[in-house]
Amino acid sequence: MATIDSVSSETDAHAHDSHGHDHPSWLAHHFDTPEQQFDSGKLGIWLFLVTEVLFFSGMFCAYAIFRMLRPEVFVGCSEFLNTKLGAINTGVLLFSSLTMAWAVRCSQTEEHKKLVALIATTLSCAMVFLGVKSIEYSHKWGMGLLPPGSYFYNAANEHPTQEQLVELHGFSDSMAYFLTHSLYFLCAPFALIAAGVLVWLIIAKVTGKDFQYACAKPLLVVALSFFGGVGLGTILESGGEHHGEGHVAMAGDHGHGEEHAEGDHDDHAHEGGDHSHEGEVADAEGTVGVVESPLGEDYAAVELLAENETNTGLKDLVAAEKAQQSLAKGQVVADPAASDLGISTLDGEVNTPKQAGVFFGIYYCMTGVHAIHILAGIGVLVWLLIRAIRQDFNRQYFGPVDYVGLYWHLVDLIWIYLFPLLYLIR
């Protein structure tokens, strides 16, 4: 508990020397024994974690309601979330949980050097997580995958320029600049912190302040880890971008797009433009087989096989075939912008502000609040790191390490649920 720490801060440089049960400096005067102090603090942190669980449950509930009402929006939108980045971040957080649990052990066994190293490793993992996260965020912001009010994603122009943002979507110049260069804005505070720690390190070295130097050394590594995360995210993001393929598969194994097209057919037919063609694709279903298919007599068999849920490849083939046939019969005047047939159009149904926008609103809320918890965790871990360097903790007084560890594990636990719920939707 906080009171223990404020009481002990004056004299606890010598705390590890006093093994007696009389009045060690780290034992607050209102506790009889170290164990009573530890247990009280632990109950306190558990009550705090309960409030955290209840707090996050509000967002999980919003997620559950929207997913229940519009499942197809979640399937469509999770295609934009890079599973590789999510999986790497899961691994990083799990590893930081391991080092945190290990750090608690080291504080109990009084391995001071190891404790410092493990807390610094946990902090570095937190920074790598944030670095990967900022790649994810900036990538989405540039594409306009934003909450409803500012959502501007369009499959035909995935990465609009700054001028297009101002002209087409009504953003101010500075906002458009921010959206197209958001990675720099996300990196800037961390670059400033890293530079600040470097200056601190040099000053501490020059003036011979050993303790400050010992603190600044691991903190510089921690601050630089953020850019390691950014680098890792850049590599994986550039290798993992294949939205197009994902959308083709969706057009095939997903009935919703076609359902909508049929239901809204009357409206769309009169509107003309690119929307007429969704209706036509649905129409053509009834008359398949009139025009000779390149698949020949096998077509019926292929269609039968494509009935199978798992056979996405053949489903795509059938979907493409139907689209081609409707084109061949001259029923469709294809819009040149949508000539990729079914990729952006069928799926395009959900890429609208009120559908995908709401999904991304929920996405930013959940991952953003989680990221704020990571930042808070970084704050308390830095405090812990400095105290560990001061060798404050011993086998009778390791509460703060344990409490921060519990908080850190809860943050990990929330991510364990967030990752499959957001990234792994089919």
Binding site: E35, D39, F60, G91, L168
Partner: protein, 129 residues
């Protein structure tokens, strides 16, 4: 909260601490095996997302996530060796989360037809459109 609660659980203090010690350091082997189990389950959950399991999808995903959460809770958060009261406090929060989510979801389901229609147009792609 009793100062005498620790005496029965000496099996976990591997480092031969003196009588009044209440710290129970987790064995390294356990920490690492829990970590590798968690990584393995992450690989499993990513792999299963490549198969379309239909409506079982969400159930499978949540089942794996819950196993992972149990591993983290029981071992990394020491709940398996902790005072039972902490476990009760923590689990009670999930009772209320359950009540909250179930009641809100059923309300949303019943009132869904009266919601605003939320299909709209994608944003424009270029000035010509």
């Amino acid at each position: 909260m009793s100062a005498h609660g620790h005496s029965t659980d000496d099996a976990h203090s591997h480092d031969g601490h003196a009588e009044g010690d209440f710290a129970h350091p987790m064995p390294m082997g356990m920490l690492f095996s829990v970590f590798f189990a968690l990584v393995f389950l992450t690989v499993v959950t990513v792999a299963q997302s490549n198969y379309n399991l239909g409506s079982f999808d969400i159930a499978v995903v949540m089942f794996i996530a819950t196993i992972k959460a149990l591993l983290v809770g029981l071992f990394f958060m020491h709940l398996a060796f902790d005072k039972p009261f902490n476990l009760i406090v923590f689990l009670s929060s999930f009772v209320f989360v359950g009540l909250f989510v179930v009641i809100t979801l059923s309300d949303a389901k019943m009132t869904a037809p009266s919601f605003e229609n939320i299909t709209d147009e994608p944003p424009v792609a270029s000035a010509e459109l």
